[in-house]
């Protein structure tokens, strides 16, 4: 069993792509996907990651603020993002990504879907192991 797992792990490590900065797998749980729709409160447009702060209604009348990590600004710019233009406070968006392993209301943001239906990559795929 151990051998099988190790082999599978080796394959996984070989198949995954590079990460920008750190190992995704240590900090985020690829087995816990996340889809959140909410209102953007602010965007930290900083290195080595941006963070999107998103107010999400929990269905019981409460609002929970999520903190979602994305690519560094340079990688977003090369994929067509513009600071203060593409994403602004007040925008209603849907974020698809994965839960953080430790923090309850944090996650990795893989895609952002805007209210007009456009979808843009905002962070790395799950399983990037710092190749």
């Amino acid at each position: 069993m151990r051998v099988v797992v190790t082999r599978a792990l080796a394959l996984l490590a070989a198949a995954t792509s590079v990460s920008a900065h750190h190992s995704f797998a240590a900090q985020y749980d690829a087995a816990k996907p996340l889809t959140l729709t909410g209102t953007v409160v602010k965007i930290d447009w900083t290195n080595p990651h941006i963070h999107i702060f998103l107010d999400v209604k929990d269905g019981k009348g409460s609002v929970i603020q999520w903190k979602l990590e994305g690519f560094p600004p340079n990688m977003l710019i090369r994929q067509g993002w513009q600071r203060d233009v593409t994403l602004k406070p007040g925008a209603v968006i849907t974020v698809a990504g994965w839960h953080a392993r430790l923090e309850a209301n944090e996650g990795a943001a893989r895609y952002v879907t805007f209210s007009d239906g456009r979808k843009m990559a905002s962070g790395p795929p799950a399983g990037t192991w710092g190749q």
Binding site: A26, D44, P48, R78, L102, W129, Q131
Partner: protein, 273 residues
């Protein structure tokens, strides 16, 4: 042969039209490989590893790059072989893999080392001078200065993340001999450890206006049973530039990693609990 080449170009243009080939590729595809005054290929330009292109610039650019490769008859590079580690080194690699890469020096904004720095999803700029090649990296704001005037490695090398590079030309290929490393970087991916005995021989061959073949042979008798060879293809990014990337600006990973390390069961592979 001419007819076949013409057909190839026709097919390439068709594919390019269909997938919306970025203007950058379309403009430069037919240009010859530039040469310096001394007749050597001029490697100057902004480049990025093709394997990192999806993260760096999105899937459309990957499709365009693959279409350009197919049209030009460039075959995909073989999958990377696993490092030919001695058992002790392989055990260390497995340790880091089982910890899901949390120990990655890069997460602490430390220099990536060689050859890892060549494979990042951020571009680098090569400036080729008559007796020196300078590489300026977006990641870490790192640089390499590679003399090509025949001088040897410095006699006072201190172990360092990036080592000391000395270059020479082998025909149209720039060969770079890198030594003087510390043992703190990873070579290519999680847990690819090495010692201060590491010596990396890189080969840079510009095989078209838009592309450059890269090979790194890592030799470290303390960890490998034989040298480890990897290949990559770099792509020219004529409309890009090397931007500022201040990794430590807001590196919240440091605090998160500290918290995770106090809860090892949270990030370790289940088999290791």
């Amino acid at each position: 042969m001419e007819r076949r080449r013409a057909l190839g170009w026709f097919a390439a243009l068709g594919v390019a039209w269909m997938i919306g080939w970025p203007a950058a590729f379309a403009q430069s595809a037919a240009q010859p490989i530039p040469r310096a005054a001394n007749g050597k290929p001029d490697l100057s330009g902004i480049w990025i590893a093709q394997g990192a292109l999806a993260l760096a610039a999105g899937e459309d650019e990957v499709k365009a790059a693959l279409a350009a490769d197919a049209a030009a008859g460039r075959t995909p590079l073989p999958a990377r072989a696993a490092p030919p580690y001695r058992p002790e080194a392989e055990a260390r690699r497995q340790y880091y893999l089982n910890r899901r890469g949390i120990d990655d020096p890069m997460a602490r904004c430390l220099l990536s080392g060689v050859p890892r720095i060549q494979l990042r999803p951020l571009p680098f700029r090569i400036v080729q001078l008559p007796t020196e090649v300078i590489v300026l990296y977006e990641i870490h704001h790192a640089f390499r200065m590679i003399p090509t005037d025949g001088r040897p490695h410095p006699s006072d090398m201190e172990p360092s993340y990036m080592g000391e590079s000395v270059g020479r030309w082998d025909g149209d290929t720039l060969v770079v001999d890198v030594r003087g490393f510390n043992d703190k970087s990873w070579l290519v991916g999680v847990g690819t450890v090495h010692t201060e005995q590491l010596r990396v021989t890189e080969r840079y061959t510009r095989d078209s206006y838009d592309t450059m073949l890269y090979e790194a042979v890592m030799d470290d008798p303390d960890v490998f049973t034989k040298p480890w060879r990897i290949q990559e293809r770099f792509r020219l990014r004529p409309n890009d530039r090397v931007r500022e990337y201040e990794c430590i600006e807001n590196n919240e990973d440091l605090q998160r990693i500290e918290k995770l390390l106090q809860n090892e069961s949270v990030f370790r592979l289940p088999t290791q609990q």
